[in-house]
Symmetry: C2
Subunit: 358 residues, 2 copies
Amino acid sequence: MTLETISVDIPGAAYGVTVGMGARSRIADAVDHADGVAQLVDRRVAGLHGTPCSGVPTLELQGGEGIKTLESLGRVLDFCAEAGLSRRSTLVAFGGGTIGDLGGLAASLFKRGLDVVQVPTTLLAQVDASVGGKTAINLAAGKNLAGTFHHPRAVFCDADLLATLDDEDFASGLGEVAKTAILGGDDALSRTEELAKAVVARDADALAEVVAMCVGVKARVVASDPEERGARRALNLGHTFGHAIEHAAGYGRVPHGVAVAVGLALAARATEGAFDADPELTTRTLELLRCFGLPTSLDELRSRDGLREALTPEALHVGLGHDKKGTVGSPEFVLARRPGDIALGVRLDDELLMSLLR
Amino acid sequence: MTLETISVDIPGAAYGVTVGMGARSRIADAVDHADGVAQLVDRRVAGLHGTPCSGVPTLELQGGEGIKTLESLGRVLDFCAEAGLSRRSTLVAFGGGTIGDLGGLAASLFKRGLDVVQVPTTLLAQVDASVGGKTAINLAAGKNLAGTFHHPRAVFCDADLLATLDDEDFASGLGEVAKTAILGGDDALSRTEELAKAVVARDADALAEVVAMCVGVKARVVASDPEERGARRALNLGHTFGHAIEHAAGYGRVPHGVAVAVGLALAARATEGAFDADPELTTRTLELLRCFGLPTSLDELRSRDGLREALTPEALHVGLGHDKKGTVGSPEFVLARRPGDIALGVRLDDELLMSLLR
């Protein structure tokens, strides 16, 4: 597969996501115009793949949730000042979602906003964080509680970088791939099913195609609702349950994409209960998750080390109250009636909800 | 004067600035719709005037440049979480410019943005910070280096609050009043000249009229350029020199409005040198500043305690390089050819520049 550029048509902030093997080689064009460039890079990824730009000020941090703090934000902001960046400069963020979140937030704040070029290096970040412009750090009270919407100037998803991901990180990305395939409609889901085995084998062409498909689906949704006031909530498919799982387990214990996978399975079952829906989508969802090597039920997840005690129905119910997008009161769910046919703001009756959490 | 509401027509984010005696009484209407309200208040002002909202979670901080830090930002963000604010909540910021800057930034970040209602309590904040949506904290490398554009939902400028300002804070606001009057055009400048004595005597009606005039002028400029890409730079009249003075003196030693006053005087002289302009505006500028009790030359400022050694021509020249809005290379100035007729991006030849800094 050659390089493909998908455009994200945010009004006033359109940008392209370049996908494929060697996509990084195009970064130079994107920062060409800038009055100064600096880069924030994940230390581990830089050790394996080098840094995306040469001869520019570089800050290496060790990626992970631990850097999504005000303290690290201060470090990146001070680095931007030391690098002499102006409002017309560009900060390149090279790493997984946490580096992208932190770098994007710093870029949106430094001198009230300079360009960021995102070079996501994990599957999760390529299919999810690369489009949407969300940036964030965590607060003591919860994840991603402080952030901005700051659309990147350009994104480069290099399939080459996915070869060195460890299995857990890779599986985490597959949860979001499954979600996006369901959102995308029947063609997207069918093609993902066809490619699933090759994707799991990390075939570079299959990965590039699936990443491009996910980026295209997400771009369409985000462009229709850049600041998450409505339609964009479709992207939370599987996430209300997923966040509850992450919260009940304790953040960091269940990888995000794994929690989303179980969330997708629960959402599929919730759809059957709430809408008398055809069980076909449930079957396809579970099959795809299995093919991706992901858990498809709470019980499967509970059988992992030490999670049985944490993931009680009661703890999960409490966790459902912690989705920051929900309103006060009973949680709202995003459910797929069919591939691409998404219901927003669904409230489930208590009996159904508790039966799902059991 | 009765209450007057000036609308600031930011596309997609229009809001009203209510000016006059007792304007605070209208805050309740502005937060009525909110899903939760909390307030950040200046401890000193709250001690004198109470807090703007009753029965809502309240964080008291001591206003001043010292709170424009990442640490204080974290404190306000944690407070927002403790107060249980959602994306549909409103944070009320009650204090001078530093409280407004910090509260506005926290509001723009918490859950990626909730509404802020600004209730500025100093003359400087009422005439300047109340319109424009700029928020910021300081970094080690300089003032206001990290921030956002986050337009408030509403602003209330209560003339009642200005009675208790100390003389230095009051004088600082008058520097911005003079600037805005010059930007506003001949009518605005003439009316400000007429009211100057009453303003200095803190006549409430005169103050309310002048604040309303300044808000109207600034609203017009900001609405034409919400993110400071062009026309809005007119608001930097007197500020390139002013920032150089603040930088050379050491931040906090010269009140912002006082530095701007001398900056306006220098800009007026620069205009004469650069454009062969009619000296009438220089005469009117200096006269208005004098009537406001503000210094009108570097020498007058240097005669203040300990500033002679700090404000050398060389230190001021270095300080000119520290305006974050400038491009690389020689500094750009904003100059008024006539009231309301503003030239942007003017570069001065070195000889003229050094003669002004002497």
